[in-house]
Each structure stands twice: as structure tokens, then as C-alpha cells.
């Protein structure tokens, strides 16, 4: 076991993947010499060379298109999108090409491309640097969409994403990059990367979260315990495919549920979860599935982001509301 921050854990995961497979390439804006704006690719170019860690022109559509072409020729490119909002110029290639080609060719054209996206707010950055665009991609069939929430998962999930033959959108909660935890870099017996995990067991209510909000939910569960409520926290980890079995089992057991994400509630990923849980667990629910998230506005300037982002109070408020039914 080693203690690593999330950014370093992903860095170590990338390094291990590059050591294990010479076909793994890292590419993006400033990922080489600089090591990426969040230093997630720090030192990789020095150790693996400019051919395997490629500083690209500032052209997101070009970066993803290049990665698709590389994958068609047998490589496993890992692209860094510098900030969440910059994925939109690449959306064309991701949605119209990357997601569609494998299925349309009956799996003959495999596209093992990983797109790493630092996501979410809470670091005092501006709009386009603090967004949570996951629902755009979960809405697109043909993409795997995953989000890590802690260093151990960052280390293993990035390697699992790279080994996977499908395109993977890999969300990294940027405000957690500097938070440390124990990581087992020796073991290889990893939890499946498309499975959800109960990260805190409870009996009265299920909080479902992913990425940056998992920690907030864990704090909320601790606070709720003082009020005598036993709150279970599920870290989804994979948004598409969704681990329905684990989610439904938890909600049927507790009878209450709130979904928490930073992205706007309206048409957000939580809407899909709420609908599915209601369809599957209707007779076991003690209260409607509640949603906690950002507002339907553009991401606000830094001085206002504390008002925008869901926090401990908003999560606890949802817990309280659930018990009023």
C-alpha cells in the first residue's frame, strides 16, 4: 500500500499501462513536456519519449479523430481533454464517429480509445473549466462512461479502461486530484470497472453518487448518523453501462433514495436513475426518488460557485425531505 493523491494515482496507472503494453499512447494539449495542466501525465514523456506521449496542436476534434485512426491501426490512445468544457469541440468526433463505428461494423473495427476528462467545479475556475458534461455522453450509445472518485479507483480504473476494447469516456473529479488515500499498486485483483460499489452500508436511505460527489455523500452519511439515520452510499463508478442490479438491490432494501451529482438536475443523469428506480422498485419505495444537483444555468463565476454546487447541506436537506413522505 502506498499513499497517493488522485492525480498521482492516475499518473501511476497510466505509467503501468504504458509499461505493460507498448501500443498504449498518451496524447493531448500540453501533456508532454508540461505533464498536463493538472500534472496527471507528469514525467511520462521523459520516460516513454515523444513518440508515445504526444503534445498535439490545439484542436480537440483533430485529437479525437487522430486517436480513432490510431486505434483502427492497432494502438490504444489515451487522450486528455484539458478541461471538461473543451470536450465540446471534440463532441463531433466522439458522438458521430467514435461511438458509432464499432457497432456499425459489427465489431470488426475496434476502437480502444480512452478520453480522460477532468470534470466538475470547486477549484475556483471559470465556466467551461468546471462543468459536468457526463449526460451528453451517457445519452450516446456505444460509449462507456465511467467516473472515478478516489485514488485507488483512479489507479485501477484507468488501467481497466485502457485494456477495454470499447471507447471509454473517463471522468476525473478535478477538485479531488490533490486528496490522498491508500492505493494498492502491487495487487492486480481489481474490482470490475463497470460495477457500482457500496462504499458505506446503511439501512434507511440510499445516496447514489459518482465522481466528486461521492465524498460529499460520505460526509452527509456521517452527519446523518448523528440524527440517528443510517445512510447507505453507492458509488456508481460506471454510468454506462449502469450496474442496475446493485442499485436496485440497495434501494429495495432501504426504501428511500436520493441521487446526487454536480451537473444540472434538469435532464441530468439523475433523471434516468430516478425513472429506472421508480420503474423497478415502485412498491418498495417509501418516498419519491429525490435529486440533488446543480441548477439549470450556465456554470457561474467562481465567486458564486459555492451557491451552485451541491454541498453537505443540500444533500442532508434531501435526506430530511425523503423522511417527510
Amino acid at each position: 500500500m502506498t499513499t497517493l493523491a488522485l492525480a498521482k494515482a492516475i499518473n501511476e496507472g497510466l505509467r503501468k499501462a504504458m509499461e505493460d503494453d507498448p501500443k498504449v499512447l498518451v496524447m493531448g494539449e500540453d501533456v508532454g513536456k508540461l505533464g498536463g495542466v493538472f500534472r496527471v501525465t507528469d514525467g511520462l514523456q521523459k520516460d516513454f519519449g515523444e513518440l508515445r506521449v504526444i503534445d498535439t496542436p490545439l484542436a480537440e476534434s483533430g485529437i479525437i479523430g487522430t486517436a480513432i485512426g490510431l486505434a483502427l491501426r492497432g494502438y490504444r490512445p489515451v487522450c486528455e481533454i484539458q478541461f471538461d468544457g473543451f470536450v465540446f469541440p471534440a463532441a463531433d468526433q466522439i458522438i458521430t464517429q467514435l461511438a458509432k463505428m464499432p457497432m456499425r461494423s459489427l465489431g470488426e473495427l475496434k476502437l480502444p480509445v480512452v478520453i480522460r476528462i477532468p470534470c466538475g467545479g470547486g477549484i475556483g475556475a471559470v465556466e467551461h473549466h468546471s462543468e459536468s458534461p457526463e449526460a451528453y455522453f451517457t445519452h450516446t450509445s456505444g460509449l462507456r462512461v465511467v467516473a472515478c472518485s478516489n485514488p485507488a479507483d483512479g489507479y485501477s480504473m484507468i488501467q481497466q479502461a485502457i485494456r477495454c476494447d470499447d471507447p471509454v469516456i473517463f471522468f476525473e473529479p478535478k477538485r479531488r486530484y490533490w486528496e490522498k488515500a491508500e492505493v494498492d499498486t502491487a495487487g492486480a485483483d481489481w474490482y470490475p470497472f463497470d460495477a457500482a460499489k457500496i462504499v458505506r452500508p446503511g439501512t434507511d436511505l440510499t445516496l447514489i453518487a459518482y465522481g466528486p460527489m461521492v465524498k460529499t455523500c460520505l460526509e452527509a452519511a456521517t452527519a446523518a448518523e448523528e440524527d440517528g439515520r443510517s445512510v447507505e452510499v453507492v458509488d456508481l463508478r460506471s454510468l454506462n453501462p449502469l450496474d442496475s442490479a446493485l442499485v436496485m438491490e440497495s434501494v429495495k432494501r432501504t426504501g428511500r433514495c436520493a441521487v446526487v451529482h454536480e451537473a444540472p438536475v434538469f435532464s441530468g443523469y439523475g433523471a434516468e436513475l430516478a425513472a429506472r428506480i421508480t420503474e423497478t422498485c415502485f412498491y418498495r419505495l417509501e418516498a419519491p426518488v429525490l435529486r440533488v444537483g446543480g441548477f439549470s444555468t450556465p456554470y457561474p463565476p467562481s465567486r458564486l460557485e459555492d451557491h451552485y454546487l451541491p454541498d453537505l447541506d443540500r444533500v442532508l436537506d434531501a435526506v430530511d425531505r425523503s423522511f417527510t413522505f
Binding site: L51, G65, G69, R73, Q93, Q97, S105, L109, R144, P241
Partner: protein, 292 residues
């Protein structure tokens, strides 16, 4: 078959533009090079070596199609013949070709990627992203523009300041040439040189091939936006007429030419018949291959 509604959905033909795929593919080594085409790509697939029965079957949504009937007219692919697919997002093939070209750099194979698109696509950002990156990295990409002077229903003159698209190579410092795209030999020679340039590590190259389509943008396009005389004049200069004249001048007899035409027509008719007889794609399998 489209008109008889045996093929459903929109179809874009390359009638009048055939010399470009035929000439270009003759210059490529399709056991290792890669072609990225557009929705107007049936001719490209055939020139790459795709079996005509598989092509027709794909258009007809048959299990025996290049992609089991899941891709259709505008998205079919056949990587075993170096044909990495059509594309219905105008310009989107260019950055992908760049990746295939970058791959050649790792294995030192000298493999070249050719991406073909229309004059309209030249105004897409993705094409410029690709041309810049390919030239910044000296990648072995042939950017081939089929300039048929129309972007869908809009004449090129209305959309660009200068209609010599080859001039776009200047800012990217690429080798470039503008050729008669209806002359199959000129296409083959020019693409051969471009491929040699790329294999020598001096790519990318931009080629503008001038051509005209003899039919609508899609089947069903009445071409009301086009002067009738323009299409008539184009017919006189279309590639098969041009090639026939060259062959005659080289001493090929009328009899031999007629024999070729009869053979090709029979081959196409047989392929169509075989494809029509094949079983349709199974809709219950539509969710397969979503994840590997």
C-alpha cells in the same frame, strides 16, 4: 433498385466522378494503405476491391453485406480491402486518416492514409485541423478533394472567395496539385507521386481533382439549381467517354470496347441479383456489438 424502393434511404452516387477512385486506388497498395471516404463512396469501396455482391447487399440491408446490413449506403466499411469506411459527417474522415498516418510512423511501415472529401468539406474546421496537424508532424496523408463544384445544391462560387482549393495547401506548406479528375491516368500518376512523397516521409500532400457529377446530389435530386446545358456539357467529358477515346486512340477496337461494356454490365447485374436473393439483416441482433 433505389427507385424501385428495394434500397431504402438516401443514396449518393459517384456517376461522372469514377475516374478519381479508380485512378487513386490503382496508385495505392491496399494491403497496407488505408482509404477514408465519404457517403459518395460506393465507387471507392469497389475500387479498393470490395466484392460487388457484398456492396449491393449492404445497400439492400442484407446479412451478406460488407457490414451485415448495419451500415448501409453512407457508412459501409471493408477494412480487409483497406477501405476504412464512408462517413456522413462532412469532413470528419480527415482527422481519422491523420491517426492512421501517425500509426505508420510507429511501425515504420511506410503505410499511407488517403482521405477523400468534396469541395464543400474544404470549409469544415475538422479538415483544417487535420491539414495543420498532418503538416506539422510530416504525416503520410494524401488529402484528395473531389471538386465537383457543388456542395449539395449550392455552387462553390457562392461559398468561397477563391475557387482553386489547391491554394489552401499554401498556409500549411504542403505539396499540392490540381488535376483533371476525369482523366483516370492523370489521377493515377498524380496519386502515385503523392504516395511516393508520403512514403519518403515528405507528406502530407493535397490534390484537387476537378470533376462533375452527372446525376443529382442524392437519388431523387431533380437538380433544378443546375443549368441544363451544364449537365449536357459534363456528359461529353465524363471519365468513361474520355477513357474510351484514349483507348481508341491507342488502337483498341470498337469490338473490344463493346465486349468490356457487356462484361461489366453482366457482372453488375449478376451481383445485384445475388444480393437481392440474400437474407435480410436480423433486426433482433441490432443491439449486438454495442460493447465488445
Amino acid at each position: 433498385m433505389r427507385i424501385e424502393e428495394q434500397i431504402v434511404g438516401s443514396v449518393h452516387l459517384c456517376i461522372g466522378q469514377e475516374a478519381i477512385p479508380v485512378g487513386a486506388c490503382a496508385a495505392l497498395d491496399l494491403t497496407r494503405d488505408a482509404v477514408f471516404a465519404t457517403y459518395r463512396g460506393h465507387g471507392w469501396a469497389l475500387a479498393c476491391g470490395t466484392d460487388p455482391v457484398a456492396l449491393f447487399s449492404e445497400l439492400l440491408g442484407r446479412e451478406t453485406g460488407t457490414n451485415g446490413g448495419r451500415a448501409g449506403s453512407a457508412y459501409l466499411s471493408d477494412p480487409d480491402h483497406g477501405f476504412y469506411g464512408e462517413n456522413s459527417i462532412v469532413g470528419a474522415g480527415a482527422p481519422i486518416a491523420m491517426g492512421a498516418a501517425l500509426a505508420a510512423r510507429y511501425d515504420g511501415s511506410g503505410r499511407v492514409a488517403l482521405t477523400v472529401f468534396g469541395d464543400g468539406a474544404m470549409n469544415q474546421g475538422a479538415v483544417h485541423e487535420a491539414m495543420n496537424m498532418a503538416s506539422a508532424f510530416d504525416l503520410p496523408v494524401v488529402f484528395l478533394v473531389e471538386n465537383n463544384r457543388y456542395s449539395e445544391l449550392t455552387p462553390i462560387a457562392a461559398m468561397v472567395r477563391r475557387d482553386d482549393l489547391v491554394s489552401r495547401a499554401g498556409p500549411y506548406d504542403m505539396r499540392a496539385s490540381r488535376i483533371d479528375g476525369n482523366d483516370v491516368n492523370a489521377v493515377r500518376e498524380t496519386i502515385s507521386e503523392a504516395v511516393a512523397t508520403c512514403r519518403a516521409g515528405q507528406g502530407p500532400v493535397l490534390i484537387e481533382a476537378l470533376t462533375q457529377r452527372l446525376v443529382g446530389h442524392y437519388i431523387g435530386d431533380a437538380q433544378v439549381y443546375r443549368p441544363h446545358a451544364e449537365v449536357e456539357q459534363a456528359r461529353a467529358k465524363e471519365p468513361i467517354i474520355v477513357l474510351s477515346a484514349t483507348l481508341r486512340a491507342d488502337g483498341v477496337s470498337e469490338h473490344e470496347l463493346a465486349g468490356i461494356e457487356t462484361r461489366v454490365r453482366a457482372e453488375v447485374a449478376a451481383a445485384a441479383t445475388a444480393a437481392l436473393a440474400a437474407p435480410p439483416a436480423d433486426p433482433t441482433a441490432v443491439k449486438e456489438h454495442l460493447y465488445g
